[in-house]
Amino acid sequence: MVAAIKEFCLGLHSLATGLAVTLEQFFRRPVTVHYPWEVLELPARYRGHIVLVRDEQTGRLRCIACKMCERICPSDCIVVEGAKLPGESRKSVTEFKLDFTKCSLCGLCVEVCPVDALAFSKRYNLASTRKADYESMDLCELAKAGDAK
């Protein structure tokens, strides 16, 4: 009998402490980020899908189509084509296809690039009703549309 009363008191006490802890939260700042109106600031190193980088001086894409990224990619999701423009010694990129649906965002392509022609975007909230939007992303086209660094 004594044990039962003791246990009852103990249970009541633990319930009260638990409620007190919860009550404390009422007086704290809410942690919720109200997403579409309020956004988190992403860190500089955030890895979104890759984009091509423009040269600051010439304004052209830096990529020389050496295909290093294509070779190192673990998921085979990059296809690069390049051609030599007349009167130039180095190759320029003509086509850069990314299958983002196979990408694991490991960053090996960005690391291996010898001319720093790739960078991560900060597109963290992609969603679409069409699979094709991400299946064959043409980074050259995206760059033309202003989506490059």
């Binding site: 633990s14 860190p43 190193r45 673990p74 965002l105 490991c106 090996l108 991560f120």
Partner: protein, 379 residues
């Protein structure tokens, strides 16, 4: 065993026994992912439990034989996504061991800091999910709130929230900045206070204690026979921790205890993990204080990774226990065989034996206390 259990001779002699098979999963809120349990029940008691696995088999071992050493780098963090850092650690270390690469001390210190942060994050997910199994929803919200703070720190350094591809053969892909150090210091302080709050809110709660104390006892001998490791083994009173027993990285330079409780019940495993969070905080604090300057990448890392032919083995203490990689190299760019020894696999293997004779809800408490990650079981 609880009184009135059907295997008591007094009961079994009476009414005719009828058993039935209860199928739990592969989609079931209590199984944490796609685990399936075939439970042979006698009323509310489990007579026989058989886990059916393979619903998240992702052929990591086959991929190891298909990709170069560098290309396998994204994989380890996806085997057990909750302790991604530890798995990366084991993988880069086994290749470093094969190649004989010395890693600069700063890189090893940062590896330890990030690993321990990851361990806390993993235990917090377990804390939330385990209590959710037991019927308490609120702790999950607190735990995820604290976990977000860790993720923010790690994301600033690695660029992703969950599947960090941060370690490289010979070091790290980039250095940490002052902001991370400050943030981690602040987090350690914050987390200490929160741990006290968790104990007040949860550990001292009578309902929780009634649900966990004396339930699902696993003996040290059973752990040995099944190869169970991590908090499961330590909850059975064996202070076995790879960080202490087979020290790797710079762990010998830190002071920390290996929490272990002899009871072997769910409460012991709960206490081990809560205590481990405190110990991880201790390690992080020391590592930050001692963090040496210098490079984070070894100088002599070959461009093409081709380990000499042979058989190499490396074990680390992941959040769920001993994770080991056996690498068989034939001297080419591609591993010949990559065996992944995952802790959840062995920990789940003993469930069948440990759950025998438990009440249904106690069996689920036991399952939760094993802290399983199903892709880690299935690989």
């Amino acid at each position: 065993m609880s009184p009135g259990h059907p295997t008591d001779s007094s009961v079994s002699a009476a009414a005719p026994r009828e058993t039935f098979v209860l199928n739990v999963g592969p989609q079931h809120p209590a199984t944490h992912g796609v685990l399936r349990l075939k439970l042979t029940m006698d009323g509310e008691y489990v007579l026989h439990a058989e886990p059916v696995i393979g619903y998240a088999h992702r052929m990591h071992e086959k991929m190891g034989e298909n990709r170069t050493y560098v290309q396998f780098l994204p994989n380890p963090s996806r085997i057990d996504y909750l302790s991604a850092m530890h798995y990366m650690h084991a993988y880069v270390c086994v290749v470093e061991r094969a190649l004989g690469i010395e890693v600069p001390p700063r890189a090893e210190y940062i590896r330890v800091i990030t690993s321990e942060l990851n361990r806390i994050a993993s235990h917090l997910v377990w804390f939330g999910a385990f209590l959710l199994d037991l019927g308490a929803f609120t702790p999950l919200l607190y735990a995820f709130d604290d976990r977000e703070k860790i993720l923010d720190l790690l994301e600033a350094v690695t660029g992703s929230r969950l599947t960090y591809c941060y370690y490289r053969f010979g070091g790290l892909c980039n250095d940490v900045d002052e902001q991370f150090i400050e943030g981690t210091r602040a987090f350690v302080k914050h987390m200490r206070g929160r741990l006290g709050m968790y104990h007040k809110l949860v550990t001292e709660n009578l309902i929780l204690r009634k649900r966990l104390e004396g339930i699902g006892v696993i003996s040290a001998e059973l752990c040995r026979k099944y190869g169970a490791t991590g908090p499961v083994l330590r909850g059975s009173g064996v202070p076995c921790d790879v960080r202490k027993l087979e020290p790797y990285s710079v762990y010998p330079e830190f002071e920390f205890d290996v929490p272990h409780f002899a009871e072997g019940d769910c409460m012991a495993r709960y206490k081990v993990r809560m205590e481990e969070i405190a110990q991880s905080l201790r390690i992080i604090e020391q590592a930050i204080a001692k963090l040496p300057p210098g490079p984070v990448m070894a100088e002599k890392v070959p461009r093409v990774i081709k380990p000499p032919p042979g058989d190499y083995y490396f074990a680390v203490e992941a959040a769920r226990g001993r994770f080991a990689i056996r690498l068989v190299s034939d001297g080419t760019e591609v591993p010949y065989r990559l065996k992944l020894r995952t802790p959840s696999f062995s920990n789940l293997a003993l469930f069948g034996e440990a759950a025998r004779g438990l009440l249904m809800q106690d069996a689920l408490a036991l399952l939760g206390s094993l802290d399983l990650v199903i892709p880690d079981v299935d690989r």
